[in-house]
Symmetry: C2
Subunit: 679 residues, 2 copies
């Protein structure tokens, strides 16, 4: 989408009072002080300020105006937009608050309509404005940040403002900033689409509390991440609200897990704090791709080196010792009291040449390096920085720095920055960035198309709940193996069914209104002969009295096997999600389940199976035969397509599913029809 | 211990060259610039510098000198100490490196001897010096830190230096600092003991990579934490080295877990990064105790409030909504568009009075509060700070602040600091501190004496390995229930034993050199009659041929029950540790085990049992009867005392132990004698 008029306007009208102390005045000041020239004040009094001429209407300006910044009172916003529309303005930033965020949905709908009528795309209302540092454009109430390569899109204006104010200290510069407020028109999806093609942005960062169109968000973010990294903070785990519509298995994962998975599926990186966001943006802006997990830590101090190594291992980097050859090379020029393992500790004697040669040598063998310099007041940190930067430049590999602390390294920091070696507050934070970047590089290599969504759509048989035999038949039709079974509406056919299947068998009640069959006395196990079959039927029929009793379904006894569960549920933001886990106490006690957006492809299914903690149990430990994980993956793929083939499905539980060494078999099924939820 | 001469000397001799560029010169400069008056330079040339007079020997000074700072070359340290000793110096800080850290153990032993001869207690060698800000004493190469209430003891000199250099920016001041280097004489234990009685220190912080005397460390730290908080960074997880001497179960926990547990047992708080250490010290220095987990977040901005709330929940705080009464109170004075849940969001309109009144109101109901102020350039952050500080003062409850960011709140920060309201870089970091402090307050309330160590010591029967029947007898004698059993050296007594116990029975080989009995064909299950018993004996005897075959032991079959494991092993630093976990795949796949220093008391045993993740399995889920956890706790207590009753024990594995609804029963035992390890 072209947001040219928004970010590169030919002229800007500030619509609202420009009296000192008013919001409009502050906005105008920020624009004027920021160096944007073509700004005009528009208000009933035609009052200019701070060098910007005043007009009573945008049409009066007589020069091209693409963008309006609206700070008028809430009741005046409509007429301001009408004025703008008449004057050919095509973009607006509506700072004014008092719309849907305080329950004024009608007001918001009204401005949406008038803007649409005039073809005006707008940001807000109830937002903190936008920034385009390359255009000296600062129509915002927030601090003007240093220019740089990061675009930051924030659902929270105040948080956005805090990030801008903090940016200089954090060593991060911005290309664009958008606080999109209530998103009555433009929302995070539009900005992700725009940033994809924005050459001034190397890294995108996003703060969201919620998204309105989950699948649209995933698609836009995926398109963006094909071009550049996207770092996401998603805050505000919803509680009771969303959970109510999730299935039992889905809700155990928690809806925050759905966001986790959606962000992963989008190829973006989720972080949890602003500091992590700054760190990661700094890494992506400055460093070449981190193509591997093997990291060398070169330091002049043991303690900080060890802390960084501890953390590096925790975040999945490989702090491997050097090869014998490299060790030999290092021993040739470093004093013998140095540590030649990894971390490579040159001790306090480490100097410019030491950093240069040691880093150059290790970077031939390692994928990335962290250079730690703990500088005492009497050492020359600048020379150390020079050595580090030289080695980074020559090697072309990613080198992060951790120069400590404060005044003792004040001389080094500008040098590091100028030469593109990012300095992090601690070595721990530096290696966390390297680890994230290494994972990102792998995920990028591994990018593959999203799983295809099945095209045909069918209606579910019947209306409302599916009876167990119907559900089993449906599964079987879609490549999900179910045991042979007999549906029997009466005593005679039940006994015949048992005999036909061959004893021992299991008998279960069929009823539209008995959900927990075992608890209701609706299940009989290990039926060994006709007499037991007859008794079982009568007992089940008796137990079901007062319920909608349709008969029984009979299965052969399944021999013991590892049990797993498969679940489908519908997330309010992201639609169908599929859940997999070990069944029974593993799920109950360890919550060892994994969730993905449905559908999943074969690779996705394999990844799900491998990613549960109890995976070794499925591969066979303690002398158990390995489960048929090929068959399981196929079933997961087929299962995950069901809600697209049958849009009426809102929830399915297959629990247990038996994973045997020669295939899998569904033990029980529950399919919830949308009418059961709505009705 | 009195370290008066070290921290409050009547005079200081700097022993070493004071030529510019030399370490001695830098040390002297730091002392002189730091304002310490009675400092003298001692070196062969009797060369003074920077206003400090020079002498050829300490005895020549002619004024009282309690402390020597030694920066002489490594070969001269001995004679310097001799000189100091003759002149009555009683404390030294040996900066000079080149001792045990580079393999020069003899040199270090020699200076230890000469110091001992003269009654000199010393810090170092190979250290970065000490600081006593209250005495203007800075014999260190590191930055002179701001004065304050935190004492920092560091095994790493460079890390210590980085902390001192960073302190001002972090808003933390120090009372004492010690870099203790090789700890040839004074070590971390001595300093912990000293700090316990040091009125100038309110909070102690410690960086360690290892401790030499684990139990001594725990005792000293426990004594200290009875008086004041201790924050510990322990870095450097050892790998192969320590693990080799740990038992199977012990090594699965990992020796870092032993440190975790030791630090917990000492009543100290472990953190993993320097930033956490600073944050927590700041909290402890400034805030009253946090007596509860219910925290209110008062903010003028949604986003940061939600981020803080997310984190608060993660770290175990209770971000509870307000009572109806409180809500009503707030609605009486806050505008209706504010958020009255928790976080309490006053929006950007929040002002001084808003912070004052809202915080004052919520603090009547909550245990602590976080005040977030996201300040835009046009707001007055100082007035907000005033409101926050007033409320904190009146309430007397802990209030942490998060004023964001940088220049926009520059006016507020000194005000907060002056009035003792700690400001944290993010709300997330602030709530992490409140959570740690809340846990600390609970642990303090809950403090109880360390478990008593049994006094009597016995020799193990026999020599070397204990045979299974011997081990079972030993357990039974110490209140650890074992099944009834018969030891049978030959076929006849084996069959008789089976018959006497009553079928079905289990038969196991007894041998000093078969460790894995099942794998070796040494176990026969479900023996139902004399014929089977005879066959089983012959089969086992056959399988054991070539081994030290002593016969068999026969047990009744134990009916199925939940299996757990109990383990004892010996940690090289901390001695005997006891391990508890669910057995089988729970341990193998989930590593669901808990470890404590042995012995444990009854409360400790109960805490261990409750703290494993799979605890619900023991209490009975899915219709299983609950296990007899009373009996299990008793057994854990008795078990944990074994290595003290039998000092020759280095390792015990009880695996499985059956937890039944009416008691527990050991299923298998292995006791390792120290001669088996040493031999």
């Amino acid at each position: 989408m072209s947001l040219q008029a928004l970010f590169n306007p030919r002229g800007v009208a500030l619509c609202g009072s420009t009296s000192p102390g008013k919001i409009g005045f502050e906005l105008l000041r920020n624009m004027v002080e920021g160096g944007y020239g073509d700004v005009y004040a528009v208000n009933p009094k035609a009052q200019g300020a701070l060098g910007a001429p005043g007009f009573a209407a945008v049409a009066d300006i007589g020069r091209p105006v693409d963008l309006a910044i609206v700070a008028a009172p809430v009741r005046a916003v409509m007429s301001v937009l009408e004025d703008c529309g008449r004057a050919g303005v095509s973009a607006a930033v509506i700072i004014t608050a008092g719309f849907s965020e305080v329950g004024n949905e009608e007001g918001e709908e009204a401005i949406r309509e008038v803007a649409a009528k005039h073809g005006i795309r707008f940001v807000g209302p109830n937002c903190a404005g936008i920034v385009n540092t390359r255009h000296d454009l600062y129509p915002t109430l927030e601090t003007r940040p240093p220019a740089g390569d990061v675009a930051f899109i924030s659902q929270s204006g105040a948080l956005g403002g805090a990030v801008l104010a903090w940016a200089e200290k954090q060593g991060v510069g911005f290309s664009k900033f958008v606080s999109y407020g209530n998103a009555a028109d433009l929302n995070e999806i539009d900005f992700l689409e725009y940033l994809m093609e924005d050459d001034e942005t190397k890294v995108a960062a996003l703060y969201i509390e919620t998204v309105s169109d989950g699948r649209g968000f995933v698609e836009a973010a995926r398109a963006l991440t094909a071009q550049k990294p996207l770092v996401v903070i998603k805050s505000g785990r919803t509680r009771s609200g969303q959970r109510a519509t999730l299935s039992h298995t889905g809700s155990m994962a928690g809806s925050d897990t759905v966001y986790d998975e959606a962000i992963r599926a989008a190829g973006a990186i989720r972080v949890h704090t602003i500091e992590e966001m700054f760190d990661l943006c700094k890494g992506f802006v400055s460093l070449p791709p981190v193509r591997g997990r093997k990291v060398a830590i070169v330091t002049n101090s043991g303690g900080p080196g060890v802390l960084a190594a501890d953390r590096a291992e925790e975040v999945g980097l490989d702090v491997a010792p050097p090869s014998a050859k490299l060790r030999e090379r290092l021993e040739a020029f470093l004093p013998s009291y140095c540590a030649f393992e990894n971390p490579f500790d040159m001790t306090v004697e480490g100097d410019e040449e030491g950093y240069r040669r040691t880093l150059s040598a290790v970077l031939e063998e390692y994928d990335a390096a962290l250079a730690i310099d703990v500088c005492t007041p009497y050492l020359d940190s600048l020379s150390h920085a020079r050595g580090v930067c030289d080695a980074a430049e020559v090697s072309g590999k990613p080198v992060a720095a951790n120069f400590m602390a404060d005044k003792t390294v004040a001389a080094a920091l500008p040098h590091l920055k100028a030469r593109g070696v990012p300095d992090f507050v601690t070595g721990e934070r530096a290696v966390a960035v390297l680890a994230q970047m290494a994972r990102y590089a792998v995920a990028r290599e591994d990018r593959r198309p999203l799983p295809e969504i099945p095209a045909e759509e069918h209606a579910l048989p019947g209306r409302g709940a599916l009876l167990e035999p119907e559900a089993m038949t449906l599964l079987a039709e879609h490549g999900i193996p179910v045991p042979e079974f007999r549906f029997a509406p009466d005593l005679r056919s039940a006994v015949d069914g048992c005999t036909a299947l061959g004893y021992p068998v299991v008998m279960k009640v069929v009823s539209a209104d008995i959900l927990h069959k075992s608890d209701a006395g609706g299940v009989a196990l290990d039926i060994r002969n006709e007499g037991m079959a007859e008794a079982a039927f009568l007992r089940i029929e008796q137990a079901a009295s007062g319920h909608d009793f349709r008969g029984v379904v009979v299965y052969p006894m399944v021999r013991a096997a590892q049990e797993v569960l498969l679940g489908l549920s519908r997330d309010p933001q992201f639609g169908s999600v599929v859940v997999f886990g070990l069944g029974g106490i593993y799920t109950e006690v360890w919550r060892d389940i994994v969730l993905r957006l449905a559908p999943v492809d074969r690779r996705g299914a394999e990844e799900m199976i491998r990613s549960i903690h109890g995976y070794p149990i499925l591969t066979g430990i303690r002398g158990q035969p390995p489960g048929d994980l090929d068959a399981l993956a196929d079933v997961l793929v087929n299962f995950s397509q069901l809600p697209f083939r049958y849009p009426e499905i809102v929830e399915v539980d297959l629990n247990p599913v038996f994973v045997r060494s020669d295939g899998v078999l569904v033990g029980d099924v529950r399919i919830i029809h949308k009418e059961q939820i709505n009705g």
